[in-house]
């Protein structure tokens, strides 16, 4: 008898949003699908290894060990366990981070049709769910790890939290515990959006390593904004989480008659905007600020204002919120448009479809909860896939939001030329425009904003197409042969960062779209005095002998026949962009930082620093006190 085929997926219990989100007094949880695999105790798998080390206490918590079931999957030890166990058992914390990190990884691989590497080069990322006592969580490239901190709740909240009966009884027997306890703590590893956000940093950095170079507030903000977008959409794509969350506060207050329906009053743009589904770090934000506010709720940024000109939005995190607002507003708009179809168009339809849609009173409708949520999950899933695919279509250096917009439009157009059904692209264009972001590219004959095809005649005669699909040297040969046509700077150092295949399934006919994506970048080191000859303006106070590094680069997209479809690039000698970049870096004293990072090859610490800055560090080099200001 041949062995039964191995199961490819596995379900594990996680905390749906974070422990502060409760339905019926219980923490809202979800079972999510992740790739099945042979796990070692930890869990330690082929891409993710949980090592529960707490550096603040020097303690190593024991590993989680699964039992393999008859069908080859492993048991879910926390299925139906009480909330107290979820909060107080570090083994569950290990499962929670393992499952969420694996899901985000799998989501990237699904969207791109290939394996996606961590940026540090190794196969397995190490995850520490209780890394240190601090209100912080970050990806550390240098340490090949995702690190999640924990910190005390504000005292009022900690004492107000009800202790479960069993624990109280136990405490009666033993003397009162003075030491801090998990009940007084907020664990960042239990926040779904925080874990998803940090994982995205690690994956995005693997796909586009030059995005952590100091460049512009948008490039710095992109990492943050994109990670929020992925975190929010990946949660929205889980119906198990969205179904009870939409009106969970009302449900907590007892305002829910029939769980199969949802009142239309919870589906207005304003109410959705304020729902916790659009919030990042609800529990953590409350813990840090001692108020009921999430860390971020970018969707509240109203469109129609040019935020990019306001000084506050020169700060990378704030700038990143504009990207989140643009994508999430588009999501909300498409979702609400689809929900519109559920409303009765005429009185008689109400009667015909009584369960799905019933008019209640005062214009309030009760809609089929399952369909509302499924529509949302479906749109979130598609937007999530589009956003991840867009990365392949983004220039590899000096990224700006307008580039990302052209990238997402093009990546989607290549797969689904017809946008008329749900108008994803049209809505994205409109939503981004509301924040002053218009596509970099004018577009082609058929569609506004998509990247234009390459200009000039390319030579393929001396390269081997098959080799070019995977070999960086072969790809470099192609680039070198065509350096004039591709618009490369002749004198700059040129380097192919990656050559990767991408396979995507067409949603309509199921056929695969095969592409090859290569990224190259160029570096030119000049003195400030030389900038003038390159047509670039020297910031007025910059000394003539200041060393300046200019970056440029492009992503080359080849079709299945090895022909170049797009050369998506930031020209090294693009005076407008370089002027902006130098002005920004000089003004905010980032030259100093850049040089230290370059010298120490410590770009990996960027995430830790960025996240600390969110709290306190701000710009450690004040405006005007630039690198040249000190000895």
């Amino acid at each position: 008898m041949s062995p039964s085929p191995l199961r490819r997926t596995q379900k594990l219990t996680i905390i749906a949003k974070d422990p502060s989100v409760r339905v019926g007094g219980k923490i809202l949880r979800a079972k999510i699908d992740i790739p099945a695999e042979e796990l070692s105790p930890g869990p330690r798998g082929y891409r993710v290894q949980v090592i529960d080390y707490d550096a603040s206490c020097g303690l190593l918590y024991p590993p989680l060990e699964y039992r393999t079931l008859a069908d080859g999957t492993y048991n879910d030890p926390f299925d139906d366990e009480p909330d107290e166990t979820l909060l107080g058992d570090p083994l569950f914390h290990a499962q929670n981070v393992y499952a969420i990190v694996m899901r985000i990884l799998a989501r990237f691989e699904y969207a791109l049709g290939r394996r996606v590497s961590w940026s540090f080069g190794g196969h397995q990322v190490q995850v520490a769910p209780h890394a240190f006592l601090e209100a912080n969580a970050f990806y550390s490239k240098d340490d090949r790890s995702l690190l999640f901190g924990y910190f005390p709740k504000n005292p009022e909240e900690a004492s107000a939290a009800p202790a479960p009966q069993a624990a109280e009884e136990e405490e009666e027997k033993t003397p009162a515990r003075k030491a801090p306890h998990f009940r007084d703590m907020i664990f960042t590893c239990l926040s779904h959006d925080v874990v998803a956000h940090e994982t995205t940093h690690a994956l995005l950095d693997g796909l586009r390593p030059r995005y952590i170079d100091p460049s512009s507030p948008e490039q710095a903000g992109f990492h943050e904004g994109f990670s929020d977008v992925i975190a929010l959409l990946s949660i929205f794509s889980l119906p198990d989480i969205v179904r009870p969350s939409l009106d969970h506060k009302a449900a907590e207050a007892g305002d829910r008659s029939d769980p199969r329906v949802i009142s239309s009053k919870y589906l207005s743009p304003e109410v959705l905007r304020d729902s916790l589904l659009f919030a990042i770090g609800a529990e953590i934000g409350g813990g840090v600020a001692s108020r009921d506010v999430p860390l971020r709720r970018s969707i509240r940024l109203e469109p129609g204002r040019d935020y990019t000109q306001e000084p506050e939005y020169a700060e990378p995190h704030r700038r990143g919120e504009l990207l989140v607002a643009a994508v999430m507003n588009a999501f909300r708009e498409i979702w609400l448009a689809r929900i519109q179809d559920l409303y009765p168009k005429q009185e008689k339809e109400t009667a015909a479809d009584a369960v799905a849609t019933v008019e209640k009173k005062d214009g309030e409708y009760l809609l089929d909860r399952k369909r509302v949520v499924e529509e949302g999950a479906d749109i979130a899933d598609q937007l999530l896939t589009m956003s991840i695919r867009a990365i392949d279509y983004c220039p590899p250096t000096d990224l700006q939001f307008c580039d990302f917009l052209s990238a997402i439009l093009t990546a989607d157009r290549e797969l689904r030329p017809d946008d008329s059904k749900f108008q994803f692209r049209e809505t994205l264009r409109r939503s981004f425009a509301g924040y002053g972001i218009t596509p970099t590219s004018k577009g082609d004959r058929n569609e506004v904003g998509v990247w234009e095809p390459p200009e000039g005649t390319l030579s393929y005669g001396r390269v081997h197409l098959d080799s070019m699909r995977q070999d960086r040297d072969e790809m470099f040969r192609f680039i070198w042969e065509n350096r004039e046509a591709l618009g490369l700077d002749r004198d700059a150092y040129t380097h192919v960062l990656s050559v990767r295949p991408a396979v995507r399934l067409h949603p309509d006919d199921g056929f695969a779209l095969r592409e090859t994506v290569a990224e190259y970048y160029q570096i030119l080191n000049v003195t400030a005095a030389e900038l003038k000859h390159l047509g670039i303006k020297k910031p007025p106070e910059m000394p003539a002998d200041q060393q300046v590094t200019l970056y440029g680069g492009g992503a080359l997209i080849f079709d299945e026949f090895g022909r170049l479809k797009f050369n998506i690039r930031n020209r090294l000698l693009n005076p407008e962009r370089q002027n902006q970049r130098l002005k920004y870096l000089w003004k905010f004293g980032r030259f100093q930082e850049l040089q230290i990072l370059e010298r120490e090859a410590r770009r990996d610490k960027t995430f830790a620093r960025m996240h600390l800055r969110r709290f306190e560090l701000g710009s450690t080099f004040p405006e005007g006190a630039d690198d040249d200001g000190f000895f």
Binding site: D143, A289, G624
Partner: protein, 452 residues
């Protein structure tokens, strides 16, 4: 009879304290010792010079030397800011009984016995903060920062047990200990001593205020720190989340103090044994943790440096500049005020800010004061702070090179050798002011506000 309306000589005694500051500034109006006015500018050390006795003994020797040189009477004490390396000499620890059951005096007792008429400190030290909510919140912020430093300070033995780079931990220990403020009993006693030792109530100064010093023929300009109403620069290092963030860290203290694990699940102490597969992460995370803490403690070090009192003493053609540890954010306000650039142009003496660190002598300041006759005085100890390859070493090599183009007196060249009379090592600089004889200058006010 000498003319006592203006100083005949100005003497500056630079004490060797290792990593710290201690200067005795004397305005001599008559014959030596006859009509001198002595000002003690800072008195502290966090790292004694090589060869020196332990800190409390060294500080006591120096205090006794100060007392004998000022004839038992100080005119004023100036504590530029709250860092331990500037004030711990003023501490009065709980009295220890010697074998003969006599109470042993501390350096703080000795200075107190010199009955300074007035003690000058920056406005941030004022115990009853003005009603302005921004100022109050800034002072509360400083308190939280001190408490955080104290938490870290206490945490260091445990961090050493957890492994990690000893360089980083040593730096962390220095920074944390320097920033604990009143959270350490010794520092608290120094702060209290400074508040109560003067015969007059202490003065808490900000840019542009009168110094309150009565030194005939000497203009004393208070150039910093600015108040928050004058400049928000010293607030720059705190963003909107900061208070709560630091508050959280401060509140972490009970957890750090406790040895009980967070969970009921038994855990392995990695100091004893670590499983093979976890060793790499345990090692990396140990050093990362200390680096993170160091980065945070450095921020508060900068915040406190920027509360430094900046004083310029002007007598005749001599100008002596004492900026404490002020950094760019503090300096930037004064440097942007009209007339200050001209005032600083022909400085005679520059007390190098912050022991020669990179951030405390901005090039824009140096360009102003860098006259051919400038003498710089730097009190420092090398190889304690920072790294050459990060350009953070103290003293900063490129700054020292620049200072050496003029005249530089650095305590790092002084060593430690007590003289046969039992005097601790120090060096004296003498300045003889020349006075224009125009009537206007003869009747110059004794203390002046900078032009604004």
């Amino acid at each position: 009879m000498t003319d006592s309306s203006e100083p005949r000589e100005i003497l500056l005694r630079v004490y060797q304290v290792g990593f710290g500051d201690c200067f005795l500034l004397t305005f001599r109006y008559g014959a030596a010792g006859e009509d001198d006015r002595h000002l003690l500018i800072d008195f502290g050390s966090t790292e004694v010079p090589n060869g020196a006795p332990e800190r409390s003994v060294m500080l006591l020797q120096i205090a006794n030397d100060i007392k004998s040189r000022c004839g038992g009477k100080l005119y004023a004490v100036i504590a530029t800011h709250r860092h331990a390396d500037h004030i711990n000499g003023f501490a009065i620890p709980k009295p220890k009984k010697t074998r003969r059951n006599q109470e042993q005096k501390s350096s703080g007792d000795i200075i107190r016995e010199c009955r300074p008429e007035v003690v000058l400190q920056p406005w941030t030290e004022q115990p009853d903060a003005p009603e302005d909510p921004l100022t109050q919140s800034f002072q509360a912020h400083l308190q939280t920062l001190h408490a955080f430093a104290a938490t870290v300070d206490k945490h260091i033995p445990r961090l050493r047990g957890v492994k990690g780079s000893s360089d980083v931990l040593n730096a962390l220990q220095l920074f944390a200990a320097n920033n604990v403020g009143g959270n350490l009993p010794a520092n608290l006693s120094a702060i209290e001593n400074l508040r109560t030792m003067g015969e007059r109530p202490p003065l808490f100064l900000s840019y542009g205020q009168s110094s309150g010093l009565e030194l005939p023929g000497v203009k004393v300009h208070v150039l910093g720190p600015p108040t928050l109403a004058q400049s928000r620069e010293i607030l720059r290092q705190r963003a909107s989340y900061s208070d709560e963030f630091w508050q959280l860290l401060k509140d972490s203290r009970p957890i750090l103090d406790s040895l009980d694990p967070l969970f009921d699940t038994p855990a392995t102490a990695t100091a004893q044994w670590t499983p093979q597969h976890a060793r790499w992460l345990v090692r990396r995370l140990g050093s990362l943790r200390s680096e993170q803490l160091l980065e945070m403690v450095r921020v508060l070090d900068d915040v406190l440096n920027n509360t430094s009192l900046i004083l310029l003493f002007e007598a005749g053609d001599k100008k002596l500049l004492f900026p404490g540890d002020a950094q760019w954010e503090n300096w930037s306000y004064a440097l942007n005020q009209e007339g200050i650039a001209d005032l600083l142009k022909d400085a005679t003496l520059y007390k190098v800010g912050h022991h020669g660190s990179r951030n405390a002598t901005p090039k824009s300041l140096w360009k102003l004061i860098n006259g051919k006759d400038l003498i710089s005085v730097m009190s420092t100890k090398p190889d304690r702070h920072g790294k050459i390859d990060r350009r953070t070493e103290v003293p900063r090599a490129t700054l020292v090179q620049e200072l050496q183009k003029r005249t530089l007196l650095s305590t790092q060249d002084m060593g430690w050798a007590v003289s046969s009379d039992g005097e601790p090592p120090s060096q004296e600089l003498k300045f003889t002011p020349r006075y224009g004889r125009s009537p206007a200058q003869r009747t110059a006010p004794t203390s002046a506000e900078p032009p604004s």
